[in-house]
Amino acid sequence: MNVWMLLGPVLLLGVVLGFVTYAILLERKVLGWMQGRHGPNRVGPWGIFQTVADVFKLLIKEDTIPAKADRTLFKMAPVIAFVPAFVVLAAIPFSEDLVFADIGVGVLYIISLSSITTIGILVGGWASNNKYALLGAMRSVAQMISYEIPLVMSVVGVVMAAGTLNLTGIVEAQQRMWFIIPQIIGFLVFFTASLAELNRTPFDLPEAESELVAGYHVEYSGFRFAFFMLAEYVYVFAMAALTTVLFLGGWNPVFGLEFIPPLIWFVLKFALIVFTIFWIRATLPRIRVDQLMQLGWKVLLPLALFNIFLSALLKEVLEGWY
């Protein structure tokens, strides 16, 4: 027990909050550029204080709770949604010696904890006693359970190749070849499913503005609303980091560029994934709810199952290569 055990998580929380602040700004900027606009540019030079201003605005907004809502659950829901989003980060190895909890079952830990957020969303939607919120929460649960299966199964190929569930071990297994090459099907399934788990466009049906106003958090205001938003962006952080670790070789450098420090490599790959997530939001329209279910069960699940056996086959053919 030393001081770093407490200070480390607090520092990471600071980094994550900083990431969320600027990821939101970057998202709005990227969306702006892709749509031929400037994006936010009024608060501070280049709009760099836009999100900060938004957060302070949310902080001094009145907190209203509908008279018909279940007050206890209504207050608990944002916390239930946020805490697992942050706790997930404990197991992610950012570089060789920057990992907070190097647990043996890292992959399972992250996947199992991240599904707790669904409960927070369901609780929030139900406790609001609002029809839009309830519909949004129901859709969210249906979507999250449908896409969790392909998400989990697409990682099996990686686990087979690495022979461990420990995330540090998985990164070390990618020193010769990043898993995105032999596991390309697994990567595509994982990335698609993770977009759906994150409720991001084109899978943002739980908060489809044009049909459900705001979905599960329609009754939330002020900082309670902010925690739902925060949870969403902390998951973007966690999923991008997990994708980097599982498929892009974590902190492993590109051949010939070993002089760049490992942590920088991690951040570069991580930033690429985050940018791709925003890029997809600007590119693709929202899909329909029936298409959503069919994509998950009829396309991604068979593909993920097929990938498991393809990985076994590749292990025979490429023996010793990875």
């Binding site: 055990m5 942050f86 404990a90 909890a101 399972l108 139900w126 925690f227 056996f309």
Partner: protein, 124 residues
């Protein structure tokens, strides 16, 4: 010892994760206005007075998806240890390790095809 320490770290993460909402919401309670009126406390329904309650019996349309989810989630519980031990088992029993899993997945895929043909996977 290291094992215990990892899980202690996770405990610290949970506490820090709980502390942030507690601190932010307390700070907000000092700063934000509090002027409740009965109009503000009405459930939002696109500006019109809400009709009825939303805590009613309704058809959870995805309950069949939930059943399928349970089946396949249990399957992954069997897949993960198999995947971790694949190299050891491969050296031990040869390609039979693959055949075994093929048989297991085959039976589950039959279930999926059945659900597919029964049009359970349609959202109508």
């Amino acid at each position: 010892m290291e094992y215990a320490q990892s899980y202690m770290t996770i405990l610290v993460f949970i506490l820090v994760g709980l502390a942030l909402p507690a601190a932010a919401l307390t700070l907000g309670a000092w700063l934000r206005p509090h002027k409740p009126t009965s109009a503000k406390a009405i459930t939002y329904e696109s500006g019109v007075d809400p009709t009825g309650d939303s805590w009613v019996r309704f058809n959870v349309r995805y309950y069949l998806f939930a059943l399928l989810f349970v089946i396949f989630d249990v399957e992954t519980v069997f897949l993960y240890p198999w995947a971790v031990a694949y190299d050891v088992l491969r050296a031990d029993v040869g390609l039979f390790v693959l055949v075994e899993m093929l048989i297991f997945v085959f039976f589950l895929v039959i279930g999926l095809i059945y659900a597919w043909k029964k049009r359970v996977l349609e959202w109508t």
